[in-house]
Amino acid sequence: MNKNLPLYEIFIRSKNGLHHKHVGSLHASDPQMAIMNARDVYTRRQEGISIWVIESKDITASNPEDSDAFYAPAEDKVYRHPTFYDLPDEVKHM
């Protein structure tokens, strides 16, 4: 049966205010069944309060071969990190 059923990627939000996080994937015939399956497979230990599902084929991923062109140019641009400011002592959690 798995061979015929499409793969879905599952995202779970663990609590209010947090974002949905990718937790894994499973097979289902449509989004509704994917949600029910995700409820059974990924929320048995109170892991979440909200589920998103999306068919894996609808995700477009970057190509590993593009790594150099995509990510290497950022390596020598440390000034893009906001680390060159003097922070007043009153500012916390930066």
């Binding site: 049966m1 059923l5 399956n37 409820r39 497979v41």
Partner: protein, 251 residues
């Protein structure tokens, strides 16, 4: 002092969910796909959890040092009062789903009403389990439609399952004498309105599933009096193996 009617009623409710939970647990590791293996195991755990709450309550009523384990592990066939539907074999996935759906149609509405019982403990157990049963009903109804209105083969298997299992549906709505007496004091659930709701749900889902209910249904009954089908002995043989081989063993 022990109220015999309440004690019997408690055990009857417990036996239903204990045996169905045990049946579903037989799927663990054998599910058609991983997702459904886990789903059925989850439902099994919900039902056995409900059974534990009820057996604990029965033990409290009986006293004499009884514990929740005495009822599932130390009673013989004639002392079990579950309805016959829950002891029917798992069969293929269609048979399991139809058995589950029929029971859920009864179970969900029954728990909803039980949560308003005048007996505090019964009301507590009803309120706790009804949330789980709501999901069970959603789950089994979803599969009824998917498989009924699925392929030619899934439809044929579901139709066969309906014809095999409908004989056991009506028994769920026949009250025992003890149960009827408890309805008057508001402790037990009056099954007549539950039956109406259960059939409404059943008819709605059957229609959506493109399945048909058999026309002449002969109702099998006897479970509530300890008269079980031939499958029951096999269930107990497995369930009680340890206690029978090593009486009073603990681990």
């Amino acid at each position: 002092m022990k109220n015999n009617d309440l004690f019997k009623y408690t055990l009857q409710l417990a036996d239903d969910v204990m045996i169905l939970g045990h049946r579903l647990s037989e799927w663990t590791g054998h599910g058609p796909v991983l997702e459904q293996d886990i789903a059925l195991s989850n439902i099994a755990l919900d039902l056995i959890g409900e059974a534990r709450n009820l057996y604990q309550y029965a033990a409290k009523q009986e006293g004499n040092g009884k514990t929740e384990d005495d009822y599932p592990y130390k009673r013989d066939v004639l002392q079990w009062t579950n309805a016959l539907i829950v002891e029917q074999k798992n069969g293929d996935f269609a048979q399991t789903i139809v058995r589950q759906f029929l029971f859920d149609c009864y179970h969900y509405y029954h728990l909803e009403a039980l949560s308003k019982s005048t007996d505090e403990q019964m009301a507590f157990i009803g309120a706790k389990s009804v949330k789980e049963a709501r999901y069970h009903l959603q789950y089994s109804a979803e599969w009824m439609v998917r498989l009924g209105d699925g392929t030619e083969e899934s439809h044929a298997r579901m139709q066969q399952a309906i014809e095999d299992k409908m004989h056991y549906f009506e028994e769920l709505f026949i009250p025992t004498a003890a149960e009827s007496r408890l309805v008057e004091s508001g402790v037990a659930v009056d099954l007549a309105p539950i039956r109406v709701k259960a059939y409404a749900k059943l008819n709605e889902v059957i229609k959506e599933s493109t399945l048909k209910l058999p026309e002449d249904i002969y109702t099998q009954q006897g479970g509530r009096n300890g008269v079980h089908t031939e499958h029951f002995g096999y269930i107990l043989a497995e369930l009680q193996y340890m206690q029978k081989s090593y009486p009073n063993m603990q681990w």
